[in-house]
Amino acid sequence: MSKDIRIKKGLDIKLKGIAETKVSVAPRSGIFAIQPKDFHGITPKLTVKVGAEVIVGDVLFYSKSNEQIKFTSPVSGTVTEIKRGAKRRILAVVIEAKPKDEFKNFGKKDPNSLTKEEVSASILESGCWPLINQRPYDVIANPADEAKAIFVSSFDTAPLAPNYAFTLKEQEAAFQAGIDALSKLTAGKVYLAVNESKSFFNKVQNAEIVNVTGKHPAGNVGVQISHISPINQGEKVWTVNAQDVAIIGNLFLSGEYKPNRILALAGSEVKAPQYYNVTIGQQLNSLLDGNINADNSRVISGNVLTGDKESAKNGFLGHYDNIVSVIPEGNVYRMFGWIPFIGSGSIHSASKTSFSWLFPNKEYTLNTNLNGEERALVVTGEMEKVMPIDIFPMQLLKAVIANDIEKMENLGIYEVAPEDFALIDYTSSSKIEAQAIIRGGLDLMINEVG
């Protein structure tokens, strides 16, 4: 039995520079880094010192609040630097890589014959656990919790998004093993959202396949959860990225932590957008050097709606990112740019004050210009058009701004994550920072409610 869900609200933003479906192996970068900023709410406790020799799977640090959650090295090499910021906060653990990797052996296992405890112990031990996130709060899952269900989305609808059916086509067995392992972790179901009938995802066992179609954010787990099994207060739902399911699967198949992904390098400023086989924590310059128009462009680890700005020279690939986007910076003035319909060829708008809505298939080169300044909330109804979750986004944002915890609960703060508000960042005519506001609200809830 497969369910069908059609998402009607939302917005597809078509950008120039979609990755061509061919995979190259990226040159191995000299240094790698694991950056605690990728793990929201985690305070790292180091277990290595500068100069320590590590192999793949050796623990670098663990979570101060939960020692079980370990973060392991993605490469073999020497720890050369612990980068610290204000208040000695750890920014990155930097490892100089050896030319060849050695892997710590966690032992081959068949997840189907293991108990829940054994599966979670293996995942925790290897450093794969941080790949499992939880809702509410959009933080790393707590292994002691009971997850109501686990959600995996097999497709991404964000601008320039990679195609997982393509990136995982040689990882079918690993993906299946990963799903098998995840299905042990919950008393409920593993839900796998698919958007095309031909991909191998439709044949995956031990998961309930749900057909989801529609515009972005149809591929976001948050939207899928709200249509399949909405989160009630007190419940926990876990989510895993599709490619990370394969990493977990490989752990059981090979007994080794293999933090590799096929990454899309995309965007209008990339000379030859295509896929690369990369390792988590890889330095971005190994991918970007000579491959992008470096002048005045922005490198984003992640997609253009939710990713992090990174330096093209010494930035690193984020822990969860399946795409690196490069788009032009928008630090230019536009004379009378606010006149409706002026510059429709290059200005994309969800409102109809640009003719862009008449050409839904045209690919745009969008830059990082804010296209205006932040203002009070005036226009109503625009947020609801891109929010396919049964909540009132503007009312929720206002409740968060007012720190009104009871109202936030009532309006569904537990059901959302910042990424669900990314399109509101985009479409807001008042230029409000909805994702940042929601992140603040979730952090408040973690502190006050827990």
Partner: protein, 384 residues
């Protein structure tokens, strides 16, 4: 263009933090950003942003007002000369109308934006674009002979008490343009109502009757104009309200660009029609007998529905709420028209009344969502 940009860049440091004129930065920025969309880039959140901003939204509404505005100016001249029995050319009418009307626009923008700039500088926040629309709406809904000082005082009241007292653009409860009109209406009643104010110079020249159709009906007389006149707008009234055709052109533009809520426009029209039909079925006096669809053509109904009721700040904010809000505006507007003989234009009161109730309507709509969430939780606990 380069030259202007360079000039701005030259003086910008004076207004930056630590500059001599730092305090006046909001004023400088208002002009700078009016000429140029600034070079600000995204610092957090989504890296790309929609081309729309508040300036674009507000300018779209102002553009939608242009047909009604130009026709209105022409009609000022046409009404004046035709009632005097003098013939004139299109240009004569338009020139006469502009001489009468443009000073009103100047006063409205001058006073309103002056206060907005002062508040922006005083409070240290950027100047919001909201008044671009209000400042155009206010002269369009006033009688043409309203003394300019009265207009100025009304604008000052609307901006200070109607808007800034609540926190400025986006925070006001009532539609500022209607606050200005209501203030003028209650403070300067002789200049705002009656049968002597709706055509230029009606008060000073006996040959001119300044009575509106609704005024005639309320007094128990015939409407005195053909339906086509009502639709095209060859009738006395405030500048913007007379031509339903021009208002519809504006409405079409607003709906095409998606700036104004079609839900409010449709539901308010339905509300007015329903009330009109109810009155028609009784038909006790001239106003009650006035065909329901003609009610939608005369007075400020069309203008109110398209440009006033759809103000997103003072309207209901939820989609369902907008249906209820709009319907009640139309319904109550016609009710006030018919029952209140002394004040035969109900649109202003109906919209202001529903502005006050909009948050309550939204509250119950949102409450429905909260209830659904709580029920889900309860059912979940029971089955578990």
């Amino acid at each position: 263009m380069k030259f202007i940009r360079n000039t701005f860049d030259k003086y910008k440091p004076l207004f930056d933090k630590g500059g001599k004129l730092e305090k006046f930065a909001p004023g400088f920025n208002a002009f700078d950003t009016l000429l140029f969309v600034p070079n600000h880039t995204t610092k957090q959140g989504a890296h790309i942003r929609d081309g729309v901003d508040l300036k674009r939204v507000m300018i779209t509404v102002v553009l939608a007002l242009i047909p009604a505005l130009i026709f209105g100016m022409w009609n000022v001249g046409f009404q004046h000369f035709s009632q005097l029995g003098e013939a004139g050319s299109f240009v004569d009418y338009l020139i006469y109308g502009s001489i009468k009307f443009l000073p009103m626009v100047a006063v409205s923008y001058g006073v309103g934006l002056g206060i907005e700039f002062a508040f922006g500088i005083f409070r240290g926040h950027e100047i919001n674009e909201g008044y671009l629309v209000s400042g155009m709406l206010i002269p369009l809904i006033m009688p043409i002979d309203l003394p300019l000082w009265m207009l100025g005082v009304s604008v000052a009241f609307a901006v200070l008490i109607g808007k800034e007292a609540f926190g400025g653009t986006g925070m006001n409860i009532l539609n500022p343009a209607l606050v200005a009109r209501a203030f003028a209406f209650f403070s300067y009643a002789p200049s705002m109502s009656g049968d002597k104010v709706w055509v230029a110079d009606a008060a000073s020249i006996d040959a001119i009757s300044g009575e509106t159709i609704l005024g005639s009906l309320a007094a128990g007389k015939e409407a005195g104009y053909s339906v086509l006149d009502m639709f095209l707008g060859y009738i006395p009234g405030s500048v913007g309200e007379t031509s339903v055709l021009m208002i519809l052109i504006g409405a079409a533009f607003l709906l095409f660009t998606g700036i104004a809520s079609w839900r409010i426009m449709v539901s308010a029209t339905i509300g007015g029609a329903v009330m009109g039909l109810i009155f028609n079925s009784f038909g006790v006096n001239a106003l009650m007998d006035f065909p329901w669809w003609q009610h939608l053509l005369v007075g400020g109904f069309a203008f109110g529905v398209v440009f006033m009721a759809t103000d997103p700040v003072s309207a209901a904010q939820t989609d369902k709420g907008k249906w209820i809000y709009g319907f009640l505006i139309g319904f109550i507007a016609i009710m006030i028209r018919v029952f209140n003989g002394a004040y035969p234009e109900g649109m202003m009161m109906a919209i202001l009344l529903m502005n006050v109730f909009a948050p309550t309507i939204d509250h119950y709509v949102v409450e429905g969502n909260i209830k659904r969430r709580k029920n889900r939780q309860k059912n979940n606990l029971e089955t578990a």
